[in-house]
């Protein structure tokens, strides 16, 4: 009977198309909005991805990575003295204004790293050499920032065009010259601004001698000491807060700064509400369209279901037929919707915005929700058919 149930479904192409449209649109909305949500949320802890260190140490009041509360430089010595620390390096992060050559201002994320060890330096340079970073007044700018901070000019078509900054170009931070010696490739940040790397000491100069400039300390544990173990020791011996740097969203440890950052944005911003609303909308639209279409499919076939009942099919068989029809439509609708979400995601990634992270878990969750929609649709149909009297087939 299941084969016939499918033939009944596929035989009514107009209804099937409508049903699939509803389910696919719903799956698309849920998968795409969830992926953009997780993409945006992954930007909130970008520094953890770009600046590599096993342990981060901060002021005890720090809640998330974008909210640095400056430490004293002497804290670095205290951390270095903790048993199990292989090395510890200073890190400065702050938002400052940069003045371009054309007079324009840009808000940048200034990152000051240890000049001796280059701990926290970007891993990939597309232009220049990291060693040149030791030269006076030099900075490294990320690719995205280089294009944001680019010189405005006129293209061959007469339209305004921005030329990305390159090695050798200069700009000013607080009236101090910054000469680009490298272009790096790093992940973009939630704030959307350029990352400008310099040495820790030079960063002090760029911030005009702020009293405290030590934002975080990057720490490497000795062999045989786990990051979580070292975090415990640092907190016990110094009273500072120590974090692990795991950024894999499904594998966060208790002490992960990325996890804290993610949840800080979750609870303190309207992002989850906004995207959650879109996902819920997708769910409700799916239930409304596919439920209504499936119900109308059942209504149209009601007299045939009554005839099948009269011929001796129990409600169990008919319910299974309706489930097969609803779940088959759900499966195809999910495939179409998830495929479209992937295609849109790829196009987004190629254009660089907005961020798009489609975890397998998002697909599984979307699949489960689409099957839920199919289930609800089937139940509506089953209730209708169960109320049909088999004797009604004799009433013309």
């Amino acid at each position: 009977m299941y084969r016939l149930a499918l033939n009944m479904l596929f035989g009514d192409r107009a209804k099937l198309a409508m049903l699939l449209c509803g389910l696919a649109f719903s799956a698309l909305l849920m998968a795409q909005q969830s992926s953009v949500f997780f993409g945006i949320m992954s930007w909130t802890y970008t520094p953890m991805v770009n600046i590599r260190a096993q342990v981060w140490v901060s002021d005890p009041m720090v809640e998330q990575v974008n909210d640095a509360k400056p430490l004293r430089d002497t804290d670095l010595g205290r951390v270095r003295s903790v048993d199990g620390v292989a090395w510890a390096a200073p890190l400065h992060t702050s938002f400052v204004q940069a003045r371009m050559q054309d007079g324009n201002f840009k808000l940048i994320t200034l990152v000051g790293i240890d000049a001796d060890t280059f701990a926290g330096a970007p891993a990939v340079l597309t232009q220049g050499r990291i060693e040149d970073h030791r030269l006076p007044d030099t900075v490294i700018v990320d690719e995205w920032g280089a294009s944001l901070m680019g010189r405005m000019g006129v293209g061959p078509d007469g339209k305004p065009r921005s030329t990305p900054l390159k090695v050798g170009d200069t700009f000013e931070i607080n009236d101090i010259q910054a000469r680009i010696v490298g272009i790096c490739k790093v992940k973009r940040a939630f704030t959307g601004g350029p990352f400008v790397y310099t040495t820790y000491d030079r960063a002090k100069g760029y911030t005009l001698g702020a009293r405290r400039t030590l934002s975080f300390m990057l720490v490497e544990p000795q062999k045989g000491v786990t990051p979580a173990e070292l975090c415990g020791r640092i907190e016990r011996d110094t009273g500072l807060k120590a974090w692990t740097s795991d950024t894999v969203i499904w594998n966060w440890g208790e002490r992960s700064l990325a996890r804290n950052t993610f949840w800080w944005f979750w609870t303190n911003t309207g992002i989850p509400f906004s995207f959650g609303t879109a996902v819920l909308l997708g769910l409700f639209v799916g239930i409304a369209i596919s439920g209504q279409t499936f119900y109308s499919f059942v209504l149209e076939n009601l007299k045939y279901f009554a005839a099948i009942k009269a011929m001796g099919a129990g409600m169990g068989v008919i319910a299974r037929m309706l489930f097969v029809q609803a779940f088959t439509a759900g499966l195809i609708g999910f495939g179409l919707g998830a495929g479209m979400a992937q295609a849109i995601g790829r196009a987004m990634i190629e254009k660089g915005m907005p961020p798009f992270v489609m975890f397998p878990q998002i697909l599984w969750a979307t699949f489960a929700l689409v099957l839920g929609i199919s289930f609800v649709s089937a139940i509506i149909g089953i209730i209708k058919v169960s109320r049909v009297d088999a004797a009604s087939v004799f009433r013309g």
Binding site: M8, K303, A310, F394, G396
Partner: protein, 242 residues
Amino acid sequence: MSHEAHSIAVRASGVDMFFGTPDNQVVALKQADFEARRGELIMLVGPSGCGKTTLLSVIAGTLTPQAGTVEVFGQRLDGLGQEELTAFRRKNLGFVFQSFNLIPTLSVIENVMVPLLIQGRPYDEARARSLSIIDKVGLKGREDGRPNALSGGQQQRVAIARALVHEPPLLICDEPTSALDKDTGAHIMQLVRDLSRSPERCVVVVTHDHRIFRFADRIAEMEDGRISRVVDDPKLLDTTHL
């Protein structure tokens, strides 16, 4: 068991059937008695509203009477639950409906296969048996087409094939010719008679169409919810009120 008792296919005795609320009750059957024998084609006739369809539904086990007994091939239906009635219909009954009730999104052969698939027969076996009966109703070559591509008479042939494909002992026909013209109706009744004729099978036909009375072995006339008389010869009936 006497020979007469053995030959009875359907027996309904003292059947009452009411619809509506106690304040606004419609009496459909009132102490109705009816008998049909194995090997015969019996027609139930009477004016609209006399209870023909209700009696047919009671015999088919799709309605349970409020009073009286119904026995079909020795099986009492009045005491059976819904699941048992469903199983009984699946095994023992074939239906031909007034409006054919062929599923338009299925092919001709798939429509015919439905009773066999409901019985749980394998798809290939159901297909082979359906092909054979489609051949017998004269629609060979049309099995993969859709029912709505066929004429009314051809659609009723498909319905007959569907009703007989699982070889049920009781064939129930509800106004099988009402949607057909005179000649097509006669052909359909001839087909029903030819294909269903078997010493063990009983055919009950509800009809208004006096042009097909000649195909009946016996005719039971209904009036006001009960059988008023049973005749062997249609000429004995007054058809002016039918």
